[in-house]
Amino acid sequence: MTTTLQPRQVLEATTPAPATRRTRKRKKDKGRGYETRSLVSPLALQSWHGKLTYWTVLVVVVTGFTLAFVFPLYWMVTGALKSPEEIAQIPPSFFPKTFDFGVYADAWNQLQLGVFLKNTIVYAGGAWLLTLAVDVTAAYALSKLRPYFGKVILALMLATLMIPPMVLLLPTYLVAKDVPLFGFNLLNTPWAIWLPAAANGFFIFLLKRFFDSIPRELLEAAEIDGASPMRILWSIVLPVSRPILGVVSILSVVTVWKDFVWPLLVLPETDKMSISVGIASLSAQMPQNVLIASLVIASLPTILVFFVFQRSIMAGLTAGSLKG
């Protein structure tokens, strides 16, 4: 397809895609001159009094944030290195006396973290693929093919966002236990995670809004050239939708990874548990330092994802709330 290059340029110039909007704003922040002022005028910051106040506030905020949000994590990582005696000692030691990474190995073996991690990867990965397959096609149909009753369907999908998931916990569990019409029992199978994850009105809303901004002429031109709807979706819509696909991908993986209540209910077998549920259910029998080591291991993947995809994650966050 020769047209794939052109639409991306068009889009970058015209689409108010959340991801790109965010990056633009950031770049402005990082520039030298602050042409836009905020609460405190730049002039006030010029005086020695202003400078003193500014630096005091900065130091207080940076220290405060570090203590409140980084220190607990430091305590967790080093706590796992301490021996059981050291961990129970009063007053606690700031630096662990020993750097015994064997505790991490113990956690890995005793808690069968390998199995839990593998399960969680399967659940999150499968949910990601299914979510993309289901939600992208649905959003494409609603945005570009516009079937009869399309608006009603979209309204019904968005209406599900108004019902908090917790209140539907029991009936949804009963569905997973005994799927109506089919009579499947999805408990202890990955499908119990994958299928509900795909029914995500928010993702469909995000994707549809992005697809709506793709110029119609582009698709019509392809249609005249004889491209099938599937081909149009695959060769035109998907390539230009990379930013939003990235946001949806990350959000869907992280959501499944972090979920607790639903996997707790539908995956009761120890061998099938996700890592959060597995650690929580075995936490009582484990020595303190082994448990903490397993907490570190369980949180590493999401923290790493955050390190790498910071920007997309925050873009998804503001996309979701500012224009809900």
């Binding site: 405190v40 129970a88 009063i90 019904l156 019902i163 916990l169 029991l170 650690i279 929580a280 994650i313």
Partner: protein
């Protein structure tokens, strides 16, 4: 949400022969939609209906379900834990609002003024949000430990007496609020920060020229300009915190003396500990009705907003 924002499709009147094409297009579209329709039907739409049935039926999932009217509701309401559950949920929500709603706004206002370490601060404040909630909760369980727990050690450094945290009915609920706030603070802060950045600087400038001091500028410019997002976040947070489950489940098991039983937790207990899905369903339906009120207001607010743009 933005149900009404999509522009109505331009309905070109179809020429005679094009009717078949329209049918074909619809068939294709529904082909694309079928996956989503199945997922939504089974895991969103049907459970909503089932929830209502569940709460009015007695059901052992072997014999046919029996309609029992309001019996399930009566059972649940007569439970001594019922009152505590609602009071605790309300208290949890209220406390979360006091800490978790005001603090992020103040943080965002301060962060917005800082010219250094912005990336770091933004990253750090969102870090706990990325932790799996089970990890965050279990981590705090260790901090709350009345013996060698970190919090009591910190109190000791300042010469303060140790607290019982989760073990005393007077502090248990507050302890739960602390964990939940720590884990969720970042979301609100970053959303407010984004909203603050869209305030035109001229407003502050002219306010300053009119002699408005720092706090007057916050009161008369910042807050009115972010009023809408503040309202939206308030409603979202009420809905989110009223569903609290994982904190009581992992930290206290509802104790001590029902001090931390929440509605969602009681619902879980009814279904999975007492085997009474009817009672659980009744609780779920009550919670749903309450939350729907807030959701409806939220819908109204965000729709009004979009009309105004």
């Amino acid at each position: 949400m933005a149900v009404l924002t999509a522009k109505p499709p331009v309905r070109r009147s179809l020429p005679q022969g094009a009717a078949r094409r329209a049918v074909g297009r619809n068939l294709t579209a529904y082909g694309f939609l079928c996956g989503a329709l199945i997922c939504f039907a089974f895991f969103s739409w049907y459970p909503m209906v089932r929830e209502v049935f569940l709460s009015f039926q007695e059901n052992n999932f072997v014999d046919p379900a029996k309609w029992v009217g309001f019996d399930n509701f009566r059972t649940v309401i007569e439970d001594p834990a019922f009152r505590s559950a609602w009071l605790n949920t309300a208290a949890f929500t209220g406390l979360s609002l006091v800490i978790g709603y005001a603090v992020p706004f103040v943080l965002a206002v301060v962060l917005n003024e800082l010219r250094h370490a912005r990336g770091y601060l933004r990253f750090v404040v969102y870090l706990p949000v990325m932790l799996p909630p089970a990890v965050g909760v279990l981590l705090f369980k260790w901090f709350y430990d009345p013996g060698a727990g970190l919090f009591n050690q910190v109190l000791a450094v300042f010469g303060l007496p140790p607290l019982a945290w989760l073990d005393s009915s007077s502090t248990a609920l507050v302890s739960l609020v602390l964990v939940s706030t720590w884990m969720n603070l970042g979301t609100g802060t970053l959303i407010y920060l984004a909203a603050l950045q869209s305030i035109p600087g001229e407003l502050y400038e002219s306010a300053e020229l009119d002699g408005a001091g720092l706090f007057k500028r916050v009161w008369h410019v910042t807050i009115p300009q972010t009023k809408l997002i503040l309202l939206v976040m308030l409603l979202l947070q009420v809905v989110a915190t009223m569903q609290v489950f994982i904190e009581p489940y992992l930290l206290t098991g509802g104790g001590p003396e029902n001090a931390t039983v929440t509605v969602a937790y009681l619902m879980y207990q009814y279904a999975f500990n007492f085997g009474d899905f009817g009672g659980g369903g009744a609780l779920g339906l009550m919670l749903m009705v309450v939350l729907m009120v807030f959701s409806a207001i939220y819908l109204r607010v965000s729709r009004d907003n979009e009309g105004g743009r």
